[in-house]
Amino acid sequence: MDSTAGVVFMSETALQLANDGAVLSLRSVDLDFHRRTGLLGSVPVPILQRVDLDLLRGETLGVIGLNGCGKSSLMRVLAGILAPTRGSIALRQGTTRAVLALGLGFRPELTGRDNALLSAMLQGCSREQAEGYLDAILDFSELNEYFEQPVSTYSSGMRSRLGFSTALISQVDILFIDEVLAVGDASFRQKASAAIKEKIRGEQTVVLVSHNLQEVEELCDRVALIHAGRLMELGPTLEVTDSYRKLLNDLARSRST
C-alpha cells in the first residue's frame, strides 16, 4: 500500500517546526469543550491546558495518566481530529497520520468479510486495495469459516481479532494507538503484541496511549504524563513511569485517609 493511503482527503497545513528532529509539535495548546447551561447558554470546559510537546521522528511516545485526564483528547489533537482552541500545531510537510482503530465502522449485521472491506476502505484503501488485503486479514484473524458469518454471531474475542487484523493494515508516518494492544485470548494477544512491536520498531513514529505501565515501559522511548489537562512531565520512560507510580500512591493514600 502506498504510504499516503491512511489519510486520503485532508490537506495538512504544514507550519515551521521549531525542532529539527520533530515531525509534529504543539505550542501552548489549549482545548476546550463546551457544556450547555440552560437555554442557549454554554460554558467552556478546559480539557487541555498549555501543552507543549514535540514528537520526534521514529520515536514511540507513551501517553499516560488517570482516567479523564485528557489523554485521548491530546491524541485527537495530535492526530488532527480536533483543532486546538488556542495555541498552535505544526506538522512536517507531507506527513500522514492515523489512529489505529479497532473495528472502525463495523456493523454487526454484516459478515466479517464485508466489515473488513468497509473498514479497510474507511482507513483509506481503494476498493481494489481493500479486496487485496482480505486474505491477509482472514489469515491473521484466524476466523476461518466465521469470516463469512455476521459479526453479531461473534464472541467479543473474535470481534476484536477481526478488528485488530483489519486495523493492522493501516500504513502511515505517525500511528496513534489508544488502548488496543490487549485483545483476544492469550495466544492471539501474544501474536497481536508481536505484530504491533514489529510495526513500532524501525521507522514508524508511534503515539501510544495506555494504562498498562508494563507495556509502556517495554515499548516506549519517551513518555508524557498528563494530569488534569496539563503536561506534568515529559522525559525518558522509566523516570516518568516512576513519577506516575508515585502519583498513584499519593492519590491512594489521600483517598484512604
Binding site: 489519510v7 486520503v8 482527503f9 485532508m10 469543550f33 463546551h34 457544556r35 485527537r76 492526530a79 488532527g80 481530529i81 480536533l82 483543532a83 492515523a98 489512529v99 482503530a101 472502525l104 465502522g105 456493523r107 454487526p108 449485521e109 454484516l110 464485508d114 472491506l117 468497509l118 476502505m121 474507511l122 482507513q123 481503494s126 476498493r127 455476521p150
Partner: protein, 261 residues
C-alpha cells in the same frame, strides 16, 4: 479535487450506502422485499382512502397522488435520515479524519438506491392502470437528477444544523411535514385559481415544480419547462458544492461538536 480523489470519495460513499442497505435487509425477514413492499403499501392505502372510501371526483386521483407522494418521500426520507448522520457517526469521527460530508452523503446515496425500486413500482402502477408510455417518460431521468441535486445540499445542511443543536432534528422533521402540505401532493398546483399564486408557488418551492413535472411527464405526456428544470439543477449543483466546501472548512469544529455532544 482531482478525478482520482473524487473516485475514492464516491466509492466510500457508495460502499457505506451499500453496506448499510445490506445490513438493513439482513435485519428483516423480508429483507430486500421491503423496498417494493413499502411503496406498494402506500399505494394500497391511497387506493383504499381515495378510491374506495371517498370515491373522489378525479378518476386518476390514485395515480396523481402516487406521482407526487412517492417522489416526495425520496426527498423527505433522505433529508430526515441524513440530519443525524454526523451526530450518529461519533465513533468514526473520534477515531478518523474522514471528511464529515461523507456521512450525510452516504445516507442520501442509500435513499437513491431505494428510490430506484420505488420508481420501478411507480412505472409498473402506471402501466397496469392503462397509462400509455410515451416519449415524455424519458423526462423522468432529468427530473430525477435535478431532484437529487436538490436533496444533496438540503441533506448536508440538515446534518450541519443538527451538529449545532440536536433540536434541529425536530425542526427538520417538522419542516418536511410542512413541505408535504405546501408542495402540491394532495392538491394540484394547476388548480390554484390565481395564475400569479400558481407561478409564485412553482418558483419559490422547487419541490412543487419537481412534483408537477413528474406528473406532467408521466401522466399527461407533457414535457416540463426545460429551462426551469435546468436552472434548478444548476442552483442545486452550486448549492451542493458550496455545502461540501463549508463542511470541509468546518471539519474540526464539527468533530468537536460531535465529540462533546
Amino acid at each position: 479535487m482531482n478525478l482520482q480523489s473524487f473516485y475514492r470519495y464516491f466509492s466510500l460513499v457508495d460502499i457505506q450506502a451499500r453496506m448499510s442497505l445490506r445490513a438493513d435487509a439482513s435485519r428483516m425477514y423480508l429483507g430486500y422485499l421491503w423496498w417494493t413492499l413499502e411503496p406498494l403499501l402506500y399505494v394500497a392505502v391511497f387506493y383504499l382512502v381515495f378510491d374506495v372510501i371517498l370515491s373522489s371526483g378525479r378518476a386518476d386521483f390514485l395515480l396523481f397522488l402516487a406521482c407526487g407522494k412517492l417522489p416526495f418521500m425520496w426527498f423527505s426520507g433522505s433529508v430526515n435520515t441524513a440530519s443525524n448522520a454526523m451526530l450518529n457517526a461519533k465513533g468514526l469521527i473520534g477515531q478518523s479524519r474522514l471528511p464529515k460530508v461523507l456521512f450525510p452523503l452516504a445516507r442520501v446515496q442509500e435513499g437513491l438506491y431505494r428510490q430506484a425500486t420505488v420508481f420501478c413500482v411507480l412505472i409498473l402502477l402506471l402501466l397496469l392502470s392503462g397509462v400509455a408510455p410515451g416519449a415524455s417518460w424519458l423526462w423522468l431521468f432529468p427530473i430525477m437528477l435535478v431532484q437529487y441535486l436538490i436533496i444533496v445540499p438540503c441533506a448536508i445542511f440538515a446534518a450541519l444544523l443538527v451538529c449545532i443543536a440536536r433540536d434541529f432534528m425536530r425542526v427538520v422533521s417538522l419542516g418536511t411535514v410542512f413541505l408535504l402540505f405546501v408542495s402540491g401532493i394532495f392538491w394540484d398546483v394547476r388548480d390554484v385559481a390565481s395564475v400569479q399564486t400558481q407561478q409564485l408557488i412553482l418558483t419559490v418551492n422547487p419541490l412543487a415544480f419537481i412534483l408537477d413535472a413528474y406528473r406532467q411527464a408521466l401522466l399527461y405526456g407533457v414535457a416540463p419547462d426545460g429551462i426551469h428544470l435546468l436552472v434548478l439543477g444548476a442552483v442545486g449543483l452550486l448549492a451542493s458544492v458550496l455545502m461540501m466546501k463549508l463542511v470541509s472548512r468546518l471539519d474540526q469544529w464539527i468533530a468537536l461538536r460531535v465529540l462533546s455532544s
